[in-house]
C-alpha cells in the first residue's frame, strides 16, 4: 500500500499534552503568545478551571481546550464551511496538515509558559472518499491484511487495535499506536420542526462514503517522568512519523 498517503484527507488533527502534577497553570496565555492576537472566541469554565479558545488558522480553525489535567490543541475545518460543503469537510492531505500543525506546536513547546509535560499524544482523523459501502470495505481490506470481509453481505464493520512500539527517541519509552478503521457515511438533511408535532427530516443530498481512520499515537501512561523540554519536539515528530506509517502502510506490527 506504499504511496497511498495522498489519498487520505484530514478531518482533524489533535495534540494532547498531559501536564506534570507540579505544573500550576491558572489562566493560560498561550493563544495570544502563539498567534500574536486574541482568539475569536474564548469560553471560560471557572468552576472546572477550564478554558476553550478558538480562531481561524490556515485552512481551518485552531481550538485550544484547556483543563487542569489535559491540554488539547485541535486543527479542524471551519464551522461555516459546513454550509457550503458538498461532502466531508477536511483541512487537506495529511502530510500538508501536519506540516502546518507541527511547527506551531513546536513553537508552543518553546514558550516559557508551556508547562512541563509527562505524556504526549498526536491524534488524527483521516478520510478516503469512496463510491459506496462495498467499495469502502474493499479498500479497507487493502490496509488490514488480517481481515477478510464478505463485502456484499456485511455492514457495521469496525476494526480497532493498539500496537505498541519502543520509542527511538527516548530510551525506555513505549508508544501506543491506536488505530480505528471503519467506513463513514454522510448526508445533508433538512429538519423541519413544528410545535406539537414530530420533526420531519428530508434528504437534500446523496449519501457520501469514505474510509475512516482514527489515529491516537501517544506515549504510554506508565511512563511517569517529565519529558525534557528539548525532547518534546523530537517526540512529536516520532508520533507523526508513526501515524504516517499507518496511513501509508495500514495495520502493521
Amino acid at each position: 500500500m506504499d504511496g497511498q498517503l495522498a489519498a487520505w484527507e484530514t478531518q482533524t488533527l489533535r495534540l494532547t499534552a498531559f501536564p506534570s502534577p507540579s505544573a500550576q497553570i491558572i489562566r493560560p496565555t498561550w493563544w495570544r503568545e502563539l498567534m500574536g492576537d486574541e482568539p475569536e472566541s474564548s469560553i471560560s469554565q471557572p468552576r472546572k478551571g477550564g478554558l476553550q479558545e478558538e480562531g481561524v488558522y490556515e485552512n481551518g480553525k485552531l481550538v485550544l481546550v484547556f483543563e487542569p489535567t489535559r491540554i488539547h490543541w485541535l486543527y479542524t475545518p471551519m464551522d461555516d464551511e459546513k454550509q457550503q460543503a458538498k461532502d466531508f469537510l477536511t483541512i487537506g492531505p495529511l502530510r500538508d496538515a501536519l506540516s502546518t500543525f507541527i511547527p506551531l506546536m513546536n513553537r508552543w513547546f518553546e514558550l516559557e509558559t508551556c508547562p512541563s509535560v509527562q505524556r504526549l499524544a498526536l491524534g488524527a482523523i483521516v478520510l478516503q472518499p469512496v463510491q459506496d459501502l462495498q467499495t469502502g470495505y474493499q479498500q479497507l481490506m487493502q490496509y488490514l491484511n488480517s481481515v477478510q470481509l464478505d463485502v456484499d453481505n456485511s455492514s457495521d464493520f469496525l476494526y480497532q487495535i493498539n500496537r505498541r512500539r519502543d520509542s527511538t527517541v527516548v530510551p525506555g519509552l513505549r508508544i501506543n499506536r491506536l488505530s480505528k478503521w471503519s467506513v463513514a457515511a454522510m448526508q445533508r438533511q433538512m429538519i423541519s420542526m413544528q410545535i406539537a408535532s414530530v420533526p420531519t427530516r428530508h434528504e437534500v443530498s446523496p449519501l457520501y462514503f469514505a474510509c475512516r481512520l482514527e489515529l491516537d499515537i501517544n506515549t504510554v501512561p506508565e511512563f511517569q517522568h517529565e519529558f525534557d523540554r528539548g525532547m518534546l519536539s523530537p517526540i512529536l515528530q516520532e508520533l507523526a512519523d508513526l501515524g504516517l506509517e499507518i496511513v501509508n502502510q495500514g495495520d502493521i506490527p
Binding site: 498531559f18 472546572k48 487542569p68 489535567t69 454550509q83 455492514s155 457495521d156 491506536l178 448526508q187 413544528q194
Partner: protein, 194 residues
C-alpha cells in the same frame, strides 16, 4: 403555528440501527448495529481522545462539596461526604477526577472539604482511577491553601507510591510553613523507606 427549518449534516452510526441516536450531527464512523441508545468507547488508559463528561456529574460534585457552607469532619472517620465522594469516583472514574481537579481551584469550596477529599482519594481502593487520583493529589501539594496541601501530603502517604517522591521533594523545597514542611518530610522518609 411556528415552523423552523434546520439544515444540517448528519453522519450515520450504522445503516441498520433504528434508534434516534443512530443519527447525529457530526461526521463519525459507522459504528454498530446495536439498538440500544449509544455505544460508549471502551475506557482505556491508552486512549487520549477527549470525551464529554456526564452533565450531571458536575452538579453532583457541587452538591457534595456543598459550596458556600462550612462542613465539619472528624479525623479519619467515614462520613456522608467521604462515602459520596468515593461512590462518585467509582461510578464516573477519571471524569470525576477531572471535575474534582477543577473544584480544587474553586475558591468558594471550603478548604476543609478539599483537604478531606484528598485524604480519602488517597485512601480509597479503586485501581481504575489510581493514576488520576495520584495526579490530583500530587498536583495539590502545590495548592495555595496550606490546609489543602496538608490533605495532599496525607493523600501521598496513603498512596505510598515512590513515584511521588520528585513532586514531594519539590513541594518541601517551596513549603513556607515549618510544621507542614516537617509533615511532608515525614511522608518523604516513609516513601524512601518503601
Amino acid at each position: 403555528m411556528s415552523t423552523a427549518t434546520v439544515e444540517m449534516d448528519l453522519a450515520l452510526h450504522s445503516f441498520t440501527r433504528t434508534d434516534p441516536e443512530a443519527f447525529i450531527p457530526a461526521n463519525i464512523g459507522e459504528k454498530s448495529s446495536w439498538t440500544k441508545p449509544s455505544q460508549e468507547d471502551e475506557p482505556s488508559e491508552n486512549a487520549t481522545t477527549q470525551h464529554d463528561r456526564p452533565r450531571e456529574l458536575g452538579e453532583k460534585l457541587k452538591a457534595l462539596f456543598n459550596v458556600d457552607r462550612q462542613q465539619a469532619f472528624e479525623d479519619g472517620m467515614e462520613s456522608e461526604f467521604s462515602r459520596g465522594l468515593i461512590a462518585l469516583i467509582k461510578h464516573y472514574g477519571n471524569s470525576a477526577l477531572v471535575e474534582l481537579t477543577g473544584i480544587l481551584r474553586n475558591e468558594r469550596v471550603s478548604e476543609e472539604a478539599l483537604s478531606e477529599a484528598l485524604r480519602w482519594i488517597g485512601r480509597m481502593n479503586h485501581p481504575p482511577s489510581y493514576e488520576g487520583r495520584r495526579w490530583a493529589i500530587q498536583h495539590s501539594l502545590f495548592h495555595p491553601s496550606a490546609r489543602v496541601r496538608d490533605g495532599a501530603a496525607l493523600g501521598v502517604a496513603f498512596l505510598d507510591d515512590t513515584r511521588a517522591i520528585p513532586d514531594l521533594k519539590q513541594a518541601i523545597r517551596v513549603e513556607a510553613i515549618r510544621e507542614l514542611r516537617e509533615d511532608m518530610e515525614q511522608v518523604l522518609a516513609q516513601l524512601e523507606s518503601t
